[in-house]
Symmetry: C2
Subunit: 243 residues, 2 copies
C-alpha cells in the first residue's frame, strides 16, 4: 500500500486531503478512486484511507481505519555521529532511517575535517530531514526520524548519556563488546556514538566515560566512519528482537 506522510495537524478523523508534494506523488502513481493508501502522521499513527476524489491539485481520502504504526521498532535508537566528510552523513541518514533509528544527531569533534558553518547548516538540515522523510516513506516506517545538529561534543555526550544504553564505539577498545554492553541489563533506549574519519581522540573517549558512556568495540576490523553506526544499529535491532 502506498504510504504518505502528512503533518500531524493535517490529520482529520473522517476525510483527509493530500496536497502539494503528496498530491504530485499521487498523480505520478496514477491513484484512482477506490484505491487504498496509508497515511502516516510521522509520529507513529497510521490511517488506512480510500481514494475518493482525484482533482488536479489535490487528492481526497476517506479515512477507513486508524491504527498504530506497526513498523516502528520498540527500541528507540539514537545515532550520534561526528560530522563526516562529503556526503557520508546523507548516506548514514538514509540507511539509519531504513534500519529503524529514531533520530540521527550530528556533532563536531576534535578531528572532524568537515564543520558546516551556521549559515549553510539550516539549508543542510532541511536537506537531511528530507532524506530521512523519503527513506521513511520508502522503507514503510510509521515515523520520520528527526535529524538534529548539536554545537559541541560536550552537548552530544550529555544528551547521549540519557539513554538506557549510552555506547561509544572506539577502535582501540579491546575488551568490552557491544554484546556485553547490551546483555548487562534490559534497555528501551540506546545511544550509539561514533567518531569522524580520523577517529576520536583519547581525551574525547575519556570525556565520554566521565559523562557516563560505555566504551565498546565493534570487532577486530577497523570500520569506516559511515559503516560503524550502521553496523552497530543493525546489531542493536537484532539484539532487541526486531528480526
Amino acid at each position: 500500500m502506498t504510504r504518505f506522510f502528512v503533518a500531524p495537524e493535517d490529520v482529520k478523523q473522517d476525510f483527509m486531503v493530500l496536497t502539494g508534494e503528496n498530491a504530485r506523488h499521487a498523480k505520478v502513481l496514477r491513484l484512482k478512486n477506490g484505491e487504498q493508501v496509508l497515511v502516516c502522521d510521522g509520529q507513529g499513527r497510521e490511517f488506512i484511507c480510500t481514494v475518493s476524489d482525484v482533482s488536479p491539485e489535490s487528492i481526497g481520502l476517506v479515512v477507513m481505519k486508524e491504527q498504530p504504526a506497526e513498523t516502528e521498532a520498540a527500541v528507540k535508537v539514537s545515532v550520534y555521529m561526528a560530522f563526516p566528510k562529503a556526503d557520508k552523513l546523507e548516506h548514514v541518514i538514509q540507511k539509519a532511517t531504513e534500519l529503524g533509528a529514531s533520530e540521527i544527531v550530528a556533532f563536531p569533534s576534535a578531528r572532524c575535517v568537515s564543520r558546516p558553518d551556521e549559515k549553510s547548516l539550516q539549508k543542510k538540515l532541511e536537506r537531511w530531514q528530507k532524506i530521512a522523510a523519503s527513506a521513511a516513506e520508502q522503507s514503510g516506517r510509521g515515523a520520520i526520524p528527526q535529524v538534529r545538529v548539536l554545537p559541541s561534543y560536550k552537548a552530544a555526550l550529555e544528551q547521549a548519556a540519557k539513554a538506557d544504553k549510552a555506547l561509544l564505539f572506539y577502535e582501540n577498545e579491546q575488551s568490552t563488546t557491544l554484546h556485553m554492553a547490551l546483555q548487562s541489563s534490559p534497555y528501551k533506549t540506546v545511544s550509539l556514538l561514533t567518531g569522524p574519519e580520523g577517529g576520536l581522540e583519547v581525551s574525547e573517549v575519556e570525556q565520554a566515560m566521565e559523562a557516563g558512556l560505555q566504551v565498546c568495540t565493534l570487532g577486530k576490523r577497523i570500520l569506516r566512519c559511515e559503516t560503524a553506526p550502521l553496523c552497530a544499529l543493525s546489531a542493536v535491532m537484532y539484539d532487541a528482537g526486531e528480526f
Copy 2:
C-alpha cells in the same frame, strides 16, 4: 602498523620484497629503514616485517614473525547478492569486506535490471576485486574476500545451500526471523542471499526453499537491496560473537 597484501607465492620466510603498487604505496607513506609493517598473504597469514632496504623501485623487508591473521572472523559468511543497479554492488563489496565477509557472490535473478554482459564482466570483476582488496587493507583484514559472479540464479542457490546456515531474506516473510534461523543450531558457515531492487519473485523464493535455503525476515521495514545484505551481515557477525 601499515598493512600490505602480497600474493601467496611472493611470501618468503626470511626476506620479502614489495614491488609495483605496494612499493608505490610505501613511498607515499615515506617508509624508512627500521619501521615495522605487516605483510598479509590475503589468505589468513600475517608477517611482521622490518623495512631494511628502501630503493626507488622496491622495498626490502626482513621477516620478524609469522602469525595467523587475528582480524579474520571465525565464522565464514558468503554474501550472495542479485545484480543491483549502478554502483550499489561496489558499495556492498566495500562494506561487506569491512564487516568481515569471506566472499561476495553476484548473480542474476528475474527482476534484475542490471545484467552485465560477458564482455564487460571481466573488467568489472577486476575492478570489484580491487575494491575488496583496498577495503581489506583499510579495515585491517588478514584475507581479501573473493568476489565472484555466477551465471544463473540456480547456480547461486546450489552454492549458497552448502553453508551451515543458508538464508534468503524476503520482505514478505513474516514468521521466521534471522534470530530464529541462527539459534536453531551451531554454525561455522553462513550464506546470506538477497534480491535486486524489485525483490525476488515468489517462484524464486519457492525455488530457493526447494534448494534447501531458509527464508527469513530482516524485520518490518523494507530495506533497500544494498542495505539488506549489510544489515544481515552485521547481525550475523554480532550473533557469532565477533563484537
